[in-house]
C-alpha cells in the first residue's frame, strides 16, 4: 500500500457510508451545503469585485478607512481556531475524550477533545468580539453602510482628499464591506453557537468516541470553510 493510500485509509471515518456517495449522510449533507455556500459568497464577493473595478470614480484605499493590523490579528485568531478544530477531530478519532492529560517525562500535557474544542470556541468568540469592536470604531469614525456620515472624521478626510478616501464611491464601499464581512461574521457566530451546543450536550457528557465522532467532523468541515472564506475576504477586502 502506498503512503498516500495508507493515509487515505486512516482518514476515512469508521461509519457506515451511503451507497454511491461513499460517505455517511451527515457529512455529504454538510458538503452539499458548503457547495451552496460557495455560490452565496461568490455572489457577494463577485458583486464587490464588479462594483469596485467597474466604477470609474476612485475607490478608497482599504488602509485609509479600515484597521488592517487589527484585522490581521483577527485572521491569525481564525487560523489558530482552524488548527485547534482539526486537533479536536484528531483527538477524538484517537479516542481522547479528556481535557488535558500528563505525559510521563514531559512538561507539556496532551490535549483531548474537550481542550481543543474549547480553544476553538474561545478563538471563534474572540474573532466575533474583535469584529464587533471594529464595526463600532468604524461607525464611530463615520464609515457606515450608507457611506461616510456627514460631519464625521472620515467625511472631513474625504473632503480634503477625495481620491484616497474614494469620496464618490463611499456608499458602494460601505454597503459591500458591511454585507460581506457581516455575513461572514454571522457564519462565525452560528459556528460558535453550534460548537457550544455540541460541547454542552455531547462533548462534556462524553458521548463521542473513536467509533462515532460524526458531529465533530461535520462541524469541523463547516468551521474550516468559514476560515477558508475569511482567507479570501481578508485579501480582497483589506489588502487589495
Amino acid at each position: 500500500m502506498t503512503h498516500a493510500a495508507a493515509t487515505a485509509a486512516v482518514m476515512r471515518a469508521p461509519f457506515p457510508a451511503e451507497p454511491g456517495a461513499g460517505v455517511y449522510s451527515n457529512k455529504l449533507g454538510m458538503w452539499v451545503f458548503l457547495a451552496s455556500d460557495v455560490m452565496f459568497f461568490t455572489a457577494l464577493i463577485g458583486t464587490y469585485i464588479i462594483l469596485r473595478f467597474g466604477v470609474t470614480a476612485p475607490w478608497a484605499a482599504p488602509a485609509a478607512v479600515l484597521n488592517v493590523p487589527l484585522t490581521a490579528l483577527n485572521t491569525f485568531l481564525l487560523i489558530c481556531s482552524s488548527v485547534s478544530m482539526v486537533k479536536a477531530y484528531a483527538a477524538i478519532a484517537d479516542g481522547k475524550k479528556y481535557f488535558l492529560r500528563a505525559i510521563p517525562g514531559k512538561t507539556l500535557r496532551d490535549g483531548g477533545l474537550k481542550f481543543w474544542l474549547l480553544v476553538t470556541m474561545i478563538c471563534g468568540a474572540a474573532f466575533v468580539s474583535v469584529q464587533v469592536v471594529e464595526y463600532i470604531k468604524l461607525v464611530g469614525h463615520g464609515f457606515t453602510p450608507a457611506g461616510y456620515r456627514e460631519g464625521s472624521l472620515l467625511a472631513e478626510h474625504a473632503a480634503a482628499d477625495a481620491v484616497r478616501y474614494g469620496a464618490a464611491t463611499a456608499g458602494l464601499y460601505g454597503s459591500t464591506f458591511f454585507t460581506m464581512t457581516g455575513f461572514h461574521g454571522f457564519h462565525v457566530t452560528c459556528g460558535v453557537i453550534s460548537m457550544t451546543y455540541l460541547y454542552l450536550t455531547k462533548v462534556l457528557p462524553e458521548k463521542y468516541s473513536a467509533q462515532d465522532y460524526r458531529g465533530i467532523e461535520v462541524i469541523g468541515l463547516y468551521w474550516h470553510f468559514v476560515d477558508l472564506v475569511w482567507i479570501i475576504l481578508f485579501t480582497i477586502v483589506y489588502l487589495i
Binding site: 458538503w31 458548503l34 460557495v38 461568490t42 484528531a90 477558508l228 479570501i232 481578508f234 485579501t235
Partner: protein, 92 residues
C-alpha cells in the same frame, strides 16, 4: 494508535505555513513597492494557496474520494462563470 497519529498530516506545520503566508501577504501589501497590477496577482495567488492548504489538509479533501471532492470542486468553475458573465455584460 501511535501509527494512526503518525500517518495524519502535520497540522501544526500547516498552521505555520498559513501564518508565514499571511505575514508575507501583509508585508507585500503594505511594505513593498510592487506595481499595483502585479501586487493584486501575487496577493490572489497567496490567498488561493492558503485556501487550498485549508481545504486539502484541514478539511481532508486530499484524502477523500473523487466523487466527494467533485461536490465541492464543481461549484468553483460555476462561480467563476457567474462573475465573468456579469463583468462581460458590463463591457458589452
Amino acid at each position: 494508535m501511535e501509527t494512526v497519529a503518525h500517518k495524519r498530516p502535520n497540522y501544526i506545520a500547516i498552521w505555520g505555513y498559513l501564518f508565514v503566508l499571511t505575514v508575507i501577504e501583509v508585508t507585500a501589501a503594505f511594505l513593498s513597492h510592487i506595481p499595483k497590477r502585479w501586487l493584486i496577482l501575487i496577493l490572489l495567488f497567496l490567498a488561493i494557496w492558503k485556501a487550498l492548504l485549508v481545504a486539502m489538509y484541514f478539511m481532508h479533501l486530499k484524502f477523500e474520494r473523487w466523487r466527494l471532492r467533485a461536490v465541492f470542486i464543481i461549484p468553483l468553475p460555476l462561480a467563476i462563470i457567474l462573475v465573468l458573465a456579469v463583468i462581460t455584460e458590463k463591457i458589452w
